[in-house]
Symmetry: C2
Subunit: 300 residues, 2 copies
């Protein structure tokens, strides 16, 4: 089906949610503390990420009629988990990247030991935040459910397994199916967890939660395809990342397997699937719709 | 005060609890999964650790009249957190150790990338275990409280800060006070969390929980002093660790600061403090008493 155009000011929405999330993250990492770990944590966490996952978490809650404030701990925790995974993936023993979001990666700006421990600290802090919420809006059982689903998504049958597969696939040609499983674990699992935890904390019905999961699965993959495309066609001054690194590493990517235009078409199809999954949702879902379209149009 | 001798078969107690914990950990790490991460996780987790922290967790619960089965998820989670911290501390960028518990460290047996991710997986899995318990024995709020206290103890104002201080103290002479703060963070925080979570899950009174925390603080430090002593006087075939490494690294330790016999006397004093803290507890605390004495008598 062809989706109708709708008017939604995504830039303002993203700006307002980003400000909110940045403020909340600032509070969490505690401006008072000046030890080296907290400096490294702050450096990586506050270095201008897109905040896609926490925005999705909030937007999913709002889509089912929930309130922003009810999901903030989950939104922040997921961003911290995402940031820890970037710090560790950038390490010399893994991807050995020196540039991230236009800045030196954590182990370059500090050192390797500090980067390892800062990643550990962020991961641990995310669970502290999830377990230390006041229970005005949700009962403890709901939070336990959210903690469990986030831990599973981030864990060794989710994101970590995806990263492991990514490493083992380097310098090898793999099938599109294997590439897809790898991405659905490496980036898809946490994006799904963002949307699902938002939907649960927004008190969505089981049916709504399922539809939102379908939405998330599709945009997660579309996001990854666009990431691969930006590594070929992107502008480093906009992406803040080195370009051409996948090819230099002989990494298996969508453009490498399918070519650029077929990859773009596939990403569009996935976004369409995502929009179909939530077509019965009312206009409180417009942010989710706009984000789905933004994901393939973004330049960074 | 001089403590009376009492008869308690600690060897049998430790053996039975170790078997229980090993069985539970086996179940958690899922014998069915054969991916590389789970192999590395199994390698490090099942390599014959003393299981001191989970035993303390169970013994603390029993000391206040609780049941073993009510604390198993916490006991296992804490052992997983302890193991992850060892895997990361052993990495080339941190302590660069090649031997642990008589076996190759994780990054030697596998590789550095796998060791980093296996540590991350264990840390994440620990919170999955803590949040996925059935709620027959405790309500969700009690589990949230336990998750929070464990995350704080393991985090960047606890264990991770201790490790960071340990690194920054290398090749420097520091005061005994600074050494003590470092150890109270690096090893003390998680030992305290073991005892405290056991006491909470065993339904101890606030007063009992406080007394058990004093017990834990004291044995935690005594444990570290003995660790330092074993690095000087230990037998590698018994400890499973290299000996003399602290001195070779010019590391600040209790024997280096106080000498061997004064360090031994200090450890004894701390154990006495621990025994005093729980002197009003009945004979269900005998395991805790025996563990306190074992901590300074151990040869590994």
């Amino acid at each position: 089906m062809i989706h109708q155009q709708f008017i939604f000011d995504l830039d303002s929405y993203l700006e307002s949610k980003n400000n909110l999330i940045n403020n909340e993250l600032e509070k969490i990492i505690d401006a008072q503390s000046s030890n080296l770990i907290s400096k490294a944590v702050r450096y990586s966490l506050m270095s201008g990420g897109k905040r896609l996952r926490p925005v999705l978490c909030i937007a999913a809650a709002e889509a089912v009629g929930g309130e922003e404030k009810c999901v903030i701990p989950a939104a922040c925790a997921i961003e911290m988990i995402h940031t820890y995974s970037l710090i560790h993936d950038d390490l010399p023993a893994i991807d050995n990247d020196s540039l991230r979001r236009g800045k030196q990666t954590c182990h370059i700006a500090f050192d390797e030991a500090t980067a390892i421990l800062a990643g550990d600290a962020l991961l641990t802090l995310s669970f502290q935040v999830l377990s230390s919420t006041d229970l005005n809006d949700h009962d403890a059982g709901t939070w336990l459910r959210v903690i469990s689903l986030i831990a599973i998504a981030a864990g060794y049958k989710g994101m970590i397994e995806g990263q492991m597969r990514d490493i083992s696939h380097e310098n090898r040609q793999i099938s599109i199916e294997k590439l897809e499983v790898m991405h659905s674990l490496k980036t898809g699992a946490l994006i799904e967890a963002s949307v699902k935890s938002g939907a649960i904390l927004g008190n969505g019905s089981p049916e709504q939660i399922e539809q939102l999961q379908t939405y998330a699965k599709n945009i997660g993959l579309a996001f990854q395809i666009t990431d691969d495309l930006l590594n070929v066609t992107g502008d480093p001054s906009v992406t803040g990342k080195e370009v051409g690194t996948d090819k230099a590493r002989n990494k298996c990517t969508y453009p490498a397997l399918l070519g650029i235009s077929e990859s773009e078409a596939y990403a569009k199809k996935l976004v369409n699937n995502a929009l179909n999954a939530i077509e019965l949702f009312d206009n409180k879902s417009d942010p989710l719709r706009a984000i789905a379209m933004y994901i393939i149009e973004r330049k960074r």
